[in-house]
Amino acid sequence: MTEADAAHSAEHPPYLAHHFTDIEQQNESGTMGMWLFLLTEIMFFGGLFATYAIYRLKYFEGFHEGSRHLNYQLGAFNTAVLIGSSLTMALAVRYAQLGRRKALIAFLILTMVLGIAFIGIKLNYEWTADYHEGLIPWMGFHVEGANAAAVRLFFCFYFFMTGLHALHMVIGLGIMCVLLRMAAKGRFDSGYFAPVEITGLYWHFVDIVWIFLFPLLYLIGGLY
């Protein structure tokens, strides 16, 4: 025990927190913590998805009609942008593992650019257009017809779900700013890259939420 202790303090790298015995334990704990956090996120979004599913069944026609107001081309384009950002994020993790600092920084920036592009398209082309068409339920909503109430409910879900998703992306972008700073200072090497890996998990999760949101919101209206 004492020899192990001595060895432990001798090879105590600066990034190993004092309460972990070794870097492996630290990394495993961090990764597990993030997976558990994602589990809570699944339950969080799950509550919204379940509520959505109930009203989708109850007001089939209205949700169908509401979906047709959305611009599925922009939605599809944004899906591609987000999947692309997941690819660049995965590459950033890979270059962090290899200890290649410049490539890591480049791919982090690329991921952020794609993330900002996604939010920009959403804000500038979709939500603004929705506003002008009177589709925002609490800001001059005016949709006529027999299903108007259900269409309004559909748009409530649309804005809550995409809004919550966008909020998660903004948080992810904030974390990436921190990573970028750490990477620029040379804090990562092939022995220590856990923060990049854990942020990657989060980013992919946000991506997957969108993969479910896109068909549920944009595509249920059918082809036309």
Binding site: M1, T2, D5, A17, H18, H19, F20, T21, Q25, E28, S29, M32, G33, L36, F37, L39, T40, E41, M43, F44, F45, G46, G47, L48, A50, T51, I54, Y55, K58, Y59, P137, W138, A149, A150, R152, L153, C156, F160
Partner: protein
């Protein structure tokens, strides 16, 4: 080694309490033991705030016409009593105070896996509590702690937003605490501490944490939607625009029923520790007690419908929920039987923690069995919405969870503070709490059975005798809670110095000195035996040192 340390004069020994001084050393600490004390101070305050409201309600109900407060104020009192006691006392009580203190000690680690997140969760809790207290002093809230729609979204003219926000925020504190415990128990156990050598308190905390992590986000989203509904009138829960108010109840109880087990499961873990120590015996059926915690955690997610038998649900759904609710009694009964079997032929001593533990077993059994009345469809129709419900859940929450919490505080107090409290006063307080509790809540079973509805500021004169009994009991109970507050605070300064292991208990937390050093253990511990390796009576297998 620990015995030698305990004998050293306390002034010369550096431990977590005297390692650093000043307000900053507390507010910026990442030491799990100090964070536990921050929680202890916060929830003790909340307990007495919530308790004061209960006192006012009981005073009000002495008179059938209810003379003390305005009926609207009464509505606010029971609402805020519920909100404060559930979200700001019971849910954080054992996990955030004793779990925080004990989990790293029991697994033999230096700290929780994420010490900074641990501190963050306390700050989040403080923000939530501050919002709720703000709501309270700026007009209060009158929806009932359940925030039922459409009253909470459309009609209530009180501080629903601030309270809901407070509850929403405090939920993240609960999630982060649970997450921290799960990772710590998985990844940071000392060498030799296998899953089935863990103290049962850790199993209970583990099961609790799973519920916290899986359930809390759902109530968060439900409360989030209530807030949006109030702000924008979106109509998800509003029948006037096509929404469904009962959907809110489903979302709410999906969390809030498991939340009942967040409150009681850690208490069950505490009882397993105390019963074994004070009967000097290994627990009867270790793995059954361990797995019953997990079974309760799993089944608790499948029974939420039993809160809604009379609010509109298909008869088949009600049948399924009724059967599932009966199922949850099985693991609970396993625990009670196993504790009782542990007592059998043990060499029992009746120190204060043991009195609380024995009280817990009796009161929890009554609370649990009356729960079966409410899980059966026919009796539930009669009893729903009456004082029977109030009595039932107070037997679980107060008779169960609070008794276990007080038992735990008394059991680990020497470890936490390094001081002993006066045992005679502690036993007296335990007896007063037990008597006061039963006098307060047993009459409420009868009131409910006779048909007195809950949440009313007035009642027919025929119910007065039982109501006066209940109010009298509440004053005894209040006294029972004040006595420990006094002597425990007294003991911090004037109590005799505690040895490392005053109860001759087993478990890693007793192997280190009292109070423990900041790093918890001077030498990283190695576990060589299973939990509760108490020798046969008379053999005096002392301590767990290798």
């Amino acid at each position: 080694m620990s015995a030698a340390l305990a004998e050293a004069p306390p002034e010369t020994r550096v431990h977590y309490l005297n390692a650093d001084y000043g307000i900053k050393s507390w507010l910026l600490t990442t030491d799990h033991k100090r964070i536990a004390l921050l929680y202890l101070a916060t929830i003790t305050l909340m307990f007495f705030v919530g308790g004061a409201m209960a006192v006012m309600m009981r005073l009000h109900l002495i008179d059938p016409a209810g003379g003390l407060v305005h009926p609207d104020t009464f509505n606010k009192l029971f609402t805020m009593h519920g909100v404060v006691m559930i979200f700001f006392f019971l849910i954080p009580s054992i996990p955030a105070v004793l779990g925080n203190f004990l989990v790293p000690l029991m697994v033999g680690a230096k700290d929780l896996a994420f010490p900074r997140i641990n501190l963050l969760s306390w700050y989040i809790f403080i923000v939530g509590a501050a919002l709720t207290l703000y709501a309270m002093v700026s007009g209060g809230v009158d929806t009932g702690w359940t925030f039922y729609t459409p009253y909470s979204t459309t009609y209530a003219n009180s501080q629903v937003m601030a309270t809901a926000l407070g509850v929403f925020v405090s939920g993240f504190s609960s999630i982060l605490t649970g997450l921290n415990f799960i990772v710590t128990i998985h990844k940071m156990r000392a060498p030799g501490l296998t899953w089935f050598r863990m103290p049962l308190f850790l199993w209970a905390i583990y099961a609790t944490s799973i519920i916290q992590v899986l359930g809390t986000p759902v109530v968060a989203i439900a409360i989030f939607l209530v807030g949006l509904e109030r702000l924008f009138h979106v109509g998800i829960f509003d029948p006037a625009v096509g929404g469904d108010p009962i959907l809110f109840q489903h979302l709410f109880w999906f969390y809030s029923h498991p939340a009942v087990y967040i409150m009681i499961l850690p208490g069950m873990g505490v009882i397993s520790e105390i019963i074994t120590c004070f009967s000097r015996k290994k627990i009867f059926g270790y793995s059954f007690v361990a797995f019953s915690s997990m079974a309760i955690a799993v089944i608790s997610f499948l029974v939420w419908g039993h809160h809604m038998f009379v609010t509109g649900m298909s008869v088949y759904a009600a049948l399924i929920f009724s059967v599932l609710s009966f199922l949850v009694a099985i693991p609970s009964a396993i625990k009670v039987f196993n504790w009782t079997a542990t007592l059998y032929q043990g060499s029992i001593s009746y120190q204060a923690p043991m009195l609380y533990a024995l009280g817990f077993i009796g009161l929890f059994t009554m609370g649990g069995l009356t729960g079966l009345f409410l899980a059966s469809l026919a009796t539930d129709v009669h009893l729903n919405g009456t004082y029977f419900i109030v009595a039932h859940f107070h037997y679980i929450m107060v008779g169960g969870a609070v008794m276990a919490y007080l038992g735990a505080i008394h059991f680990w107090w020497p470890k936490i503070t390094g001081r002993l409290y006066p045992d005679l006063w502690a036993r007296l307080a335990a007896a007063i709490v037990f008597i006061g509790f039963n006098l307060t809540f047993f009459p409420q079973f009868m009131l409910g059975y006779l048909g007195m509805p809950r949440r009313y500021a007035t009642y027919p004169a025929e119910f007065q005798v039982l109501n006066v009994m209940s109010s009298a009991g509440a004053s005894i109970l209040g006294l029972g809670y004040l006595i420990p507050l006094v002597y425990l605070i007294w003991s911090i300064r004037y109590g005799p110095i505690a040895p490392a292991n005053p109860w001759r208990a087993k478990g890693l937390e007793w192997e280190t000195s009292s109070p423990p050093p900041t790093q918890n253990f001077d030498v990283p511990p190695v576990v060589r035996e299973g939990a509760y390796a108490y020798g046969p009576p008379g053999s005096e297998q002392e301590g767990a040192h290798d």
